[in-house]
Amino acid sequence: MEPLSWGAILVEILIRFTPVWIGMAAIFALSLTFKRRLGLYGKLFDSTIGMIGFAIVLFWVLTALFSNMIITHDPLVQVSGMKNKLPGTPVPEGTEGLGYYLLGGDNLARDVFSRMVAGSTIVMQIAPVATLFAFMVGITLGLPAAYYGGALDTFLSFLANLILAFPVILLFYLLVTPEIVATGLPTYMAAVLFLFPILFLVVLWNSRFFTQAGKRAAYISVTLVLGLWVYLGVAWNADPLGIISVPPNILIVFVSVVFVNAPTVFRIVRGIALDIKTRDYVAAAQTRGEGPWYTMLWEILPNARGPLIVDFCLRIGYTTILLGTLGFFGLGLAPESPDWGSTINDGRKLLSIYPHPALAPALALMSLVLGLNLLADGLREESLKD
């Protein structure tokens, strides 16, 4: 068979992404129709920048969701004779999947296109959840630091600055090593970090419903049962039902990313809370005898949501970069894993001769982060216009 021309490659790739196009069209159509009723999300569609950002992010989210339908070959399978082949090279007869390597083969003769698509799934599995956990930790510690001030604030700020003073790569090299995993340290860190979301929710419900015993018991028990179940599975790999489990090397990546992000979130939350604390409605809550946690979680936190949502988007992008960095240095994730960082690392050795295996994941990562940054920018602009 003849190799595909660049135009044909492009057409073929566009066709492969069909499920994504359909999904994007549906979501955009719905959102544009109802944008006046959708609050801040709806207003995003007033800003061109925000809409472009949202489109890019949505593209990768859907790609991650439908990756099994999009990939042309198994991202881990090596096809002999396809090593470092250029984009559009036909595969030997009898190989499963499409007749071509759309974006060529890498130095182990795997399909670059499929690896790039599969890589998005790994990013989408880790980055948003890790960022969410970092936010839970940062919020649970940042609010009391700002609210109480004094020694607690000094201590927590010192801790946060301590972690922030570590160069990230050094921290990764220290945390994400087989030796550390052998000591069990990541598990203990996970055990501590993952307690925060449960703690957060319990305090949230308790402060809100402590005047109504029935509601309080209901909310808190549901949270505890669900939370502890997930907690056992994720942090201790001891899910009694055996449904939830996280491989240890993913867990350590997850924990270190949360660990690196949480202090920054802490500082942001603390800063905003210090400002909101001086508002009259906080004083009003205090003068009617509300507890400190109600004031923090129901009076201060909801009004900090604007800047926090914006930072959340930015931070997912940053987490993606961190995951790439980990992959780039071959830390944590399995060597053959198709995540973008590892793929770039694999491809960089022959970069001057065969740039395509490294370029595809590099561009993918860049576009996702760019999309998230544009989205954050659009959200910031629109939330300020209120």
Partner: protein
Amino acid sequence: MGLFILRRIVIMILTALCLTFIVFVLTNLQPNLEKLAKTQGNVRMTDEQVATWLEMNGYTDPMLSRYGQWLGLLPGWTREDAEGNVTGRCISRDVPADVAPERCGVLQGDWGWSTVLRDEVSAIIGTRLGLTGILMFWVMLLMVPMALIMGVLAGMREGSRLDRSLSTVSIASTATPEYVSGVILIAVFASSAVGLKWFKGTATSAMDGITFENFTLPVVTIALYGMGYIARMTRASMTEVMTAQYIRTARLKGVSFPNIVLKHALRNALIAPFTVIMLQIPWLLNGVVIVETLFNYKGFGWTLVQAASNNDIELLLGCSVVAVVVVLVTQLISDVGYIFLNPRIRIS
């Protein structure tokens, strides 16, 4: 003011102690030490032999005591084996037991021995840091003025076309980490596949002599990522200042636009970015590690990676100390500089 700096320095030393202790603990975990024993002694050592080796080399002391020794606050360990040979932390072939100092640690200038690069850690870090210093110098020279100009131009007239395009450029630049921009730049400017071949894809030769050809890509790669962030901060600060009342006052007393920007806005607008630039240095450290690995430029970052991936404990400790000190000193400078730049705090 003096009191303030003193307090900050005390906090800084405290932080440095905490951080180095953490690094010390993390690098001296049992698995690391066992691995070290096997690389230094014999790969096929039995567990018992490993234990003896560790015992003989002072690795069985309590963690805190070993940290004290490494720091040079506590006297170094000494052991006498069955034959009456005295070994010790401060004793080596060149320094026999009778003349060996009591303490030898970081404070005495003895940073230890690199097992991988086979040299004094202090010597390695000295040369490597010099190489990285050159790289950083060019990066700063390119990045800071560019970023400030971009930020000021964009923030000067918020919402203008210039602002829109410069902002998009800076967003794109913050979205491109070094390992991505490096790959793209090499692919475009250095790979034989495209054929531009303007620059070299490695910077190994730059260690002997810097040329435009071998040094441009690494410098640009690091500068690109940091530039966008500083530019955005500058822009934000500039737009805020440009909407301030006193700028309207200046405009309505007849000051021309260039003079408003230069005389009234700039000084106020650059206070915030100064802090950002200083705090950016720790981030540049990341970039340095990535770029030096990518371009094979054997500077500080490359050394750190080598030390970390080869279990070279003392070299890694040395690198960490330098990294932490760099971060803390820049934080100190940023705090002091902020006060100095801001008359509202300076004179009160």
